[in-house]
């Protein structure tokens, strides 16, 4: 799997290259600035891009802007955005086109190599990887006034949280130490209670949940 990596701090870039190579990824390019990233994304056609939000030369949200631009040119281009801080505002912009293949994680998540690599693979396959902090902020904001959300059991809330992060039923089952069938049952309960349309497609399911949490209905 070919990866384009954009990160301006040498130590982190180097660490990420080694980490990804150790897990069998091929690094197509490891760049350190916005313009370089633009070129790499346009010319190398990677399977997934791992991008830091803040890049030179402007040191603003240049990485995010490059990623969004590349996805407009090539809809569905898998992009995993890394940042020192997570903002719902950015998550919303990444998810806005509704095509999936999007990740948005705190840089700390790199500490858990396996989970991080799992997130990269998931995004490359068209799935979603949202940072637990984003989901917790969304839930905290919605729980105040959302009646359907209040009807969920604590277990169902847990499943919803993991589902919103982009995990599959199998992964959720492993995390909560229950069977996949139990998770499937929770999932269909959640969808019924929130009034969402059930979908067999994992990715579409995640996007529906995220849209619900962000805007309600």
């Amino acid at each position: 799997m070919r990866v384009v990596l954009a990160e301006d701090l040498f130590l982190l870039r180097d660490g990420l290259v080694r980490l990804l190579e150790a897990f069998g990824f091929e690094i197509a390019a490891a760049v350190e600035s916005g313009p370089e990233l633009d070129r790499a994304l346009a010319e190398l056609e990677p399977d997934v891009a791992v991008v830091d939000v803040r890049l030179p030369p402007s040191h603003t949200d240049e990485g995010l802007q490059c990623a969004l631009k590349a996805r407009r040119a090539r809809p569905g281009l898998p992009v995993l955005v890394l940042s020192q801080h997570v903002e719902q505002l950015y998550a919303r912009e990444l998810l806005a086109d509704g095509t999936g293949g999007v990740g948005y994680l705190l840089k700390d998540r790199v500490f858990d190599a396996e989970q991080f690599v799992d997130a990269v693979r998931r995004v490359a396959a068209g799935g979603t990887a949202m940072d637990p902090q984003v989901i917790q902020q969304l839930l905290a904001r919605r729980q105040g006034d959302d009646r359907p959300l209040a009807r969920l059991t604590p277990r169902e809330l847990e499943v919803l949280e993991l589902m919103a992060q982009g995990r599959s039923n199998a992964a959720i089952a492993e995390r909560l130490v229950v069977t996949e069938r139990a998770v499937a049952k929770h999932t269909s309960n959640i969808f019924a209670k929130l009034g969402l349309e059930v979908s067999d497609d994992d990715n579409r399911r995640v996007l529906a949940v995220l849209a619900y949490l962000d805007h309600g209905r």
Binding site: R54, H59, T60, D108, F111, A140, R141, D145
Partner: protein, 422 residues
Amino acid sequence: MNSGRFRTRAWGTVVAAGRGFVLAVVAMTVSVLFFCLSLVSIALIPVGVGIVTTPYVLTGVRSWANWRRVLAAEWGGQRIPPAYRPVREDANPWERTFGMLRDPATWRDLRWLAVDMTAGSVTALPAAVLPFYALEGLLMPTGLWWLVAGPHVDHGPYWYGFVPVQGQNTAFAAGALGAVLVVAAYALTPRLLHAHFRLTRAVLAPSRGELAERVRVLTETRRDAVDVSAAELRRIERDLHDGAQARLVAMGMDLGTVEALLDKDPEQAKRLLAHARQSSAEALTELRDLVRGIHPPVLAERGLGDAVRALALRLPVATEVTVDLGGRRADAPVESAVYFAVSEVLTNAVKHSGADRIWIDLHRTGDVLRATVTDNGKGGARIGAGTGLAGIERRLGTFDGVLAVSSPAGGPTLVTVEIPCA
């Protein structure tokens, strides 16, 4: 081709009339009230009661004057910088009362109240009355003359301006005069209102002779700014020292022990490694919170508008944000000051108001950046010693910013922050 411009102009006339009406009414009521309260309170100082009440009354007068400063800037384009001496937060009522009474700005406020409730309301009134009076004249020939003059014809004519209205013919004359007045209102109303604001400015603004006073205020706000930033640095130092730094030390120790244990007790070494990783994650979280308190990353990356939007998304209360900054970014210190002021106001609203809706409006007109935060909570917020709002006011002082709070008991609360930005 000019119908669009005509319509805006006509709408401007109506708006100016409404504003004139509001100003005339508040000048005649609120200013009178504050004027009387201040006189009574100051008169009661020898008895003792005044020492307790005067700071409250004068603080009320200041926030009322600040409101009118905001209105003068927003409706009349007249910027009136405030020049109050800051009152120490830990001052006792005695120091507070006499500190305020020694401030020339207090006496300027009182003089302004007296002018505002008389000349102020008189100058605001024509703007409110002229358009309606003109309309009355226009309507005379359509039968209105009968309503106003018909039944009382024995008591003499009804005077519309200099026209004695007695019948249809004189009603037409009144109509003609009305038409002239409509043109006059169309041309003059917004300018009439300016007379009011110029008067407000003349009385409320520090005069040229008070340049020395201005220098003094600058000295004091500069001292405040130095105090505030020194306190900030101390807080950051303490947070780093007790937080991230301590965790890094613990991590280093864990790693040292791991090195020693690697061969002897791999199980224990593994546990310590997990612990070290945990420490590093916690150190990162603490650093992240610290950075957010110094200069929020979104502010650096996206500017004030999006930073406030991101802030609103973190609130547990439904919040609407409208931003119109004309696509320009203000200087970083100004952006930061407005951001933290809005953030503090929002924290207050969420904590104390019990509101379930908040509206934030960011707006830049010319060289003034204005942020308004409205909530539908229970009101009762005030700028008092030790409250978050007083802290905001102190910090805005460095930028010649104004804080205005309107928060009647029962709500709604409306907080306006205004800061000049070149």
